[in-house]
């Protein structure tokens, strides 16, 4: 589904991704872990098409398309979804209106008719239940005045509405209490199928108790320095990141 080869990217003059390669197949869950500043969020942002970053090398193929050639909204319509680490507050735009616009643009892209009002509301209700969001939140301005947990649940709600092929969760667990974490993870798991894939970017192993990854990759200093299965996450939890840093720095 997603094939990243030797991806390099920088922001202004600072090189952050220094050659990342990663293969993600349909049905898989990949966790990307790593210490702060290792480039995890940058990788998520670059895949979603944030323009602040300049890609300086490498290739990204998504379902046969050159991802780096298309802009953020087209990527989303092709099936990429980024759950933001810091969801943006947008006063004056209601969640409902926003979702309707987004969903219909994606449907149009797929050659489908826009959803009628009844089906749309039905779908909203169904997906709200999934992440236990109160209906009143949806008529309010997007994320405005939402608590941290509400914002993260709203991200997963949007993901449920848009049914992406590849979901990238950027530190969705940060700042969540255990109940919210469980709700978010349940939502993600419910959406998992053999046709879609998930990349979970996280600093902590905690989320991976709920969203169990098939593969774990450790990012350090802009490169994937170690890959393994979920046991690697336990090891990181136990020993921290220092041993990896030492290993990498010693071999450098």
């Amino acid at each position: 589904m997603l094939s990243i080869k030797n991806l390099k990217a920088r922001i202004e003059e600072k090189e952050i991704l220094k050659g990342i390669s990663l293969e993600v197949k349909a049905g898989e869950v990949h966790a990307i872990m790593g210490p702060n500043g290792s480039g995890k969020s940058t990788l998520a942002s670059v895949l979603a098409g944030r323009e602040d970053y300049e890609v300086t090398g490498g290739e990204v193929d998504f379902l046969g398309k050159d991802l780096l050639e298309i802009d953020a909204d087209t990527r989303a319509r092709e099936g990429i979804f980024l759950a933001f680490q810091y969801p943006v507050e947008i006063p004056g735009v209601s969640t409902t209106n926003f979702m309707k616009t987004a969903l219909n643009q994606i449907r149009e892209h797929r050659g489908e008719k826009p959803l009628d009002a009844v089906s749309f509301l039905k779908r909203m209700k169904e997906k709200m239940k999934l992440v236990e969001i109160d209906q009143s939140l949806l008529s309010r301005s997007l994320n405005e005045g939402f608590s941290g947990g509400e914002k993260k649940r709203n991200e997963i709600f949007q993901m449920a509405m848009l049914e992406p092929k590849l979901a990238i969760l950027d530190e969705t667990d940060s700042g969540l209490d255990i109940d919210a974490l469980r709700i978010v993870a349940n939502g993600v798991n419910a959406l998992k199928s053999k046709d879609n894939a998930t990349i979970v970017v996280t600093h902590y192993q905690r989320l991976l108790d709920y969203i169990v990854p098939d593969f774990v990759h450790v990012l350090y200093n802009g490169k994937i320095v170690k890959s393994g299965t979920k046991e690697l996450a336990f090891e990181l939890e136990e020993k921290g990141y220092d041993w990896i840093k030492e290993e990498v720095d010693a071999s450098a």
Binding site: A48, G49, R50, E51, D71, A72, D73, R75, A76, R77, F81, L82, F84, P87, V88, I90, P91, G92, V93, N97, F98, T101, A102, L103, Q105, I106, H109, S141, Q158, L162
Partner: protein, 441 residues
């Protein structure tokens, strides 16, 4: 002596004023006419605003008028088809229509208005029937010494509308004042004077729109005096969506009696240079004044809103919200003054001006001014200017919404709190349609 600004215009105007006086057949000797003379002499003595005039420092109308107008008097009579006229109307607006063509009341295009307790008289007729009224009408709130364009208007204006809503009268349909000009061949200049008197417990909505058809320059200069009596409710809409060569100055002077409510809505969408002076005097206790403004500018359009709200008595409330979106190399100017006099305790006065600049060439100059002499008041003001929020734009895009559409959603969201104050659906739709059309590009 200080050099007079706009001497070229003044020379042309002096000839015109003499011609005008001759046309009055002796009326020019009347006491009432003296006020025109005084206003004109004041203008000649003091000139038009110069580049350093504090009140006009961002808006050099004098230079623009000198550069773009020949100021010849002879003008062909207008030839506008009904189709051209209806092209500038607001769709689905259910209103009493009063139409002026080239600054003159047009009976053919205006509705016959028959509402009990509503008096509507074209000014030209009122002055012809009883010229002595001029003194009463022209020497009230809009002081010609306070603004050169009021002086110009006082000297020359011969038409406009006099609207009186009697006590307790509710006028259900809005009154649309439509000033349409023929700019197909000649430059067009005219003065308009409107007087609105809203009686006690009366209720009315008035809409004012200037449209010029064609591509020659136009200069329209309007003075509106509004009297809102006790417990009256008045709404005043001003819509500016004129040609790229339309120069427009508006002076609205309103005074409110006890417990009255005045709402002004000023929407500036297109023009060459537009200057709006809005002055509201809260003369007695319990008044409410709402000032809503939206300017959505593109190209080289220059819009300058100068507002004053003067709290003279206790327990009044004023709320001002002006928002602007500047595209292309347009320029917006906002100057909002709030005065709270010593007597005006328990005043609530709020002001907010927010701007978005879409290009590097767009400019906004904003200046809030609060002067408070009372000591028990609640006042706030704030102004912000920024670019479109790129983080928000990316967020919308990351959900599949096309960039242009996302941009439109954000700008509409920005303007929403002003758009939501529009109480007439046809006007709301009109504004939203312009919004959508502008944001498409």
């Amino acid at each position: 002596m200080e050099k007079i600004s706009g001497q070229l215009i003044l020379n042309a105007l002096t000839d015109q004023f003499e011609t005008f006086e001759k046309s009055l057949n002796g009326q020019s000797k009347s006491n009432a006419h003296q006020i025109r003379k005084n206003a004109f002499n004041h203008l000649v003595e003091h000139g038009f605003p110069h580049a350093k005039s504090e009140e006009y420092k961002f808006t050099n109308l004098t230079k623009a008028l000198e550069k773009n107008f020949e100021l010849r008097t002879a003008q062909r009579s207008p030839s506008l088809s009904n189709k051209q006229i209806s092209s500038v109307e607001i769709e689905n607006l259910d209103a009493h229509k009063i139409v002026f063509i080239n600054g003159k009341y047009s009976e053919t295009h205006s509705d016959k208005i028959d509402v009990t307790g509503l008096k509507i008289i074209p000014l030209n007729k009122a002055l012809k029937d009883s010229p002595e009224k001029l003194e009463a009408i022209f020497s009230t709130k809009a002081d010609y010494e306070s603004d050169p364009f009021i002086a110009l208007n006082t000297a020359f204006s011969q038409d406009g509308i006099f609207i009186e809503i009697e006590d307790n009268v509710i006028v259900a349909r809005p009154i649309m004042l439509h000033f349409i000009g023929d700019c197909q061949q000649d430059e067009l200049l005219y003065q308009i004077r409107n007087i609105v008197k809203a009686g006690k417990f009366s209720q009315c909505t008035i809409i004012e729109k200037f449209d010029n058809i064609g591509s020659t320059p136009s200069f329209t200069n309007a003075v509106v005096e509004i009297d809102v009596a006790e417990n009256a409710f008045l709404k005043y809409f001003k819509i500016e969506n004129d040609t790229d060569k339309a120069y427009h100055v508006s002076n609205i002077h309103a005074s409110q009696a006890a417990k009255s409510t005045l709402t002004t809505n000023t929407y500036a969408l297109n023009g060459a240079i537009v200057r709006n002076n809005l002055n509201i005097m809260l003369e007695d206790e319990g008044c409410e004044a709402y000032m809503n403004g939206l300017y959505l500018l593109d190209g080289k359009t220059h819009v300058d809103n100068h507002t004053v709200v003067d709290h003279k008595k206790p327990n009044c409330y004023s709320n001002e919200l002006y928002k602007g979106i500047m595209d292309g190399s347009s320029r917006g100017v906002f100057n909002g003054k709030i005065f709270v006099r010593k007597d005006a305790q328990k005043t609530n006065a709020f002001q907010s001006n927010k701007n978005v600049l879409l290009t590097n060439k767009a400019i906004v100059n904003t200046k809030p001014q609060l002067e408070i002499w009372a000591d028990d008041v609640k006042c706030s003001h704030g102004c912000t200017t920024g670019q479109l929020d790129m983080e928000a734009l990316f967020y919308l895009q990351s959900r599949g919404i096309q960039k242009e559409k996302a941009r439109g959603m954000l700008l509409q969201a920005f303007a929403n709190d002003v758009l939501e104050t529009v109480s007439i659906d046809a006007i709301k739709d009109y504004l939203k349609a312009i919004f959508v059309q502008r944001l498409k590009k």
